[in-house]
Subunit: 179 residues, 2 copies
DNA sequence: GCCACCATGTAATCGGTTACATGATTAA
DNA sequence: TTAATCATGTAACCGATTACATGGTGGC
């Protein structure tokens, strides 16, 4: 069976309740987007493909003249999801971190500016933290345990990241004055 | 001036010493690849482009019949690098984390398996840690401060990540027994 | 003589994002 | 009536990876 990047997202989201393509996009933009994005250009073709393969089942849910098609997971789809969830995993974390790349080359800069890069990385973490806190404080029922876990991860990671930057900033500054 | 994903890598690496395309690929695979990869298909065309723009300067360094061309940074190239380093930065960290995506959907699994995902994430961090420690213990002179800083980040991040998984594992297990 | 490594380069492919087209419904 | 949101869909574009082609050099 063919797997693209959105396959698990679609199957995973449909595991809890039936959704339309639009719904999926909306939910992704409010949740997984931070570590796994998805665009309409992937979602709609994928829904058709998965339906053809019998992993999801579409039903018309039009509202008057506005078309709407909601999909739900078939037993085969649920199996595929579980198989993916428990399949051997590749490298855990894959990141593409421009701020880290800048730091990596920061020796080319006067010390002051280089330390400035560390400071702005710290700020980046803090800003991200605000966004995540806003999401965490959103009204609505309590999230399932593991959805909540991932949000926690985001918050904890950014708190750790900001702290780390601060510590390194202090270390690099004290080293300079000591030498 | 046109910027691609490898532009800063090429300029940044050439800032310290002249290198060939092959050298750049080798260094990237041993360093930035963890957060910023680059392939030959990007590097060689980019070297030509940057030379045409006058940001780098190529010189023949053939060894007998084996061709080899090394590039060095021009003053204009150095300026461009510094400009990039100090330009306003977008979102700090961008990650694509499959293991996090699995966790996000782990509520679809029996508790035991879901916790297994957390454990394997922990293992992923530990394995990554070993790789990074091996790199840190490589012979060779001390790295420049900020190159060292980024390596430290990798180590600290994975240590934090493994610890976090362990803590959450304990929390989720105790919650289960308490309820 | 063979294998590992040095070294350059490109064509084909693939996957994803962007941008657009289209139109209905609802609340201000 | 107008703006925001709901809703589906695709074509064009872009950028990166993969895979291949080609060949020299050095050590065993």
């Amino acid at each position: 069976m063919k797997q693209t990047a959105v396959t698990p997202v679609v199957l995973g989201l449909l595991a809890t309740r039936p959704l339309s393509g639009y719904d999926i996009k909306t939910i992704v933009d409010r949740s997984t987007r931070f570590f796994w994005a998805a665009s309409y250009g992937q979602i709609y073709p994928e829904l058709k493909r998965l339906e053809q393969e019998g992993l999801i089942d579409g039903a018309d849910a039009s509202n008057g003249n506005r078309g709407r098609r909601v999909y739900e997971l078939t037993p085969a789809g649920h199996e595929t999801l579980v198989a993916w969830l428990t399949s051997p995993t590749g490298p855990a974390v894959e990141l593409r971190d421009e701020s880290l790349l800048r730091l990596f080359f920061a020796d080319a800069l006067p010390r002051e500016y280089a330390l400035g890069l560390l400071e702005s990385r710290k700020r980046g973490h803090e800003e991200f933290l605000e966004v995540l806190h806003a999401i965490a404080n959103l009204p609505g029922g309590k999230d399932p345990d593991f959805v909540d876990l991932v949000l926690r991860w985001g918050i904890d990671f950014n708190e750790w990241g900001a702290r780390w930057c601060q510590e390194q900033l202090e270390r690099l500054q004290s080293e300079k004055t000591t030498s």
